[in-house]
């Protein structure tokens, strides 16, 4: 369903752009191609990783470590993992979906995705340089705390 919607929207916008301004359309497609090529290696790894997770890790083990016997430690670990890794979220989302399918519960997965996008250890130097120490520290600390709250809420509601 979402696939049909997003493909439909993109296709109509693309056709509109082609009619309106051919150079813009070409530029957009080139940009998409560059993004695709840059994402491709990461995507291949994630696709293989998803397969290996299902092939090698017994579902019991995933349930054990990421399953519904939620401890605050599990959530903090998932949040930290999301904060320090720099996987593009476009690629991390399918991985998160596969973990759920393999038996993980929603709370740690939500914690991971939320900190992955809201907290950035790797981008910290850029943020410090552009926004200054105070805003950067406050933003990342608050984001981390709220990510844990959000994931707990998601765990309850899902």
């Amino acid at each position: 369903m979402i696939v049909v919607i997003i493909n439909g929207i993109t296709l109509s916008l693309l056709i509109f752009t082609i009619f309106k301004n051919k150079t813009k359309a070409k530029k957009a497609l080139i940009m998409a191609l560059i993004k695709a090529v840059n994402l491709l290696p990461m995507m291949l790894i994630i696709i293989v990783l998803i397969g290996l997770i299902f092939g090698f890790i017994p579902p019991d083990m995933i349930k054990n470590y990421l399953g519904s016997n939620e401890s605050i430690l599990q959530i903090i670990f998932a949040s930290l993992f999301g904060a320090i890794t720099m996987i593009p979220s476009l690629v991390a989302l399918p991985l998160a979906g596969s973990l759920i399918e393999a038996g993980a519960s929603y709370t740690p997965v939500a914690a991971f995705i939320t900190t992955l996008t809201m907290v950035g250890f790797i981008t910290l130097p850029v943020e410090l340089k552009e926004l200054g120490k105070k805003i950067t520290v406050l933003r990342n600390v608050f984001a981390f705390v709220f990510a844990i709250i959000i994931s707990l809420i998601i765990g309850v509601l899902m």
Binding site: I2, L13, A28, M31, K35, P41, L52, L90, K134, I135
Partner: protein
Amino acid sequence: MKTDKKNIEIKEKIKNGIYKSIKYIVSIGIILYLLYRLFPEQIVSAIDISQRYGIEMITIFPAVLILMGLADVWVPKSLINKYLGKNSGFKGILLSIFLGTLPTGPLYIAFPIAAELLRKKARISNVLIFLGVWASLKIPQISVEIKFLGVKFAAIRFIFTLISIIIIGYLIEMIVEKSEVKV
């Protein structure tokens, strides 16, 4: 001259990406083959799952990437600058959210925009809301999230993340302004 140089640069980027991908494909192939010799059963089922996920990703990724490319050409960064700098209040919040969800660039592009806005004395809360939405609530990202984690998950995460971002924006504004008064 300039466009020539740019063209070469783009070709170089694409070429490098393709080389890197080929390198990855070959190494992954070798590793999978070795693993297959050791654990044939697991690898067969792993490849089966990988194939399924690969196909699912192919159905949505080209559209998402082209959408991001289109947003890049239609929404110039100067536009964001212009609108976010001036509007405050409720309209400002809505605008920050709207501009943040547009499918443009990664977070490190948003930092300089945010810094520029702060220099222009835009409200701190608006800039931070814009930054937060830009980081975690982008339209292409959400469509992929719906595909792989379901509408319910995506909707709940969207709502509570948005609320958190707004609260964080105001909290930081309060703290920063308080400390500035003291100094």
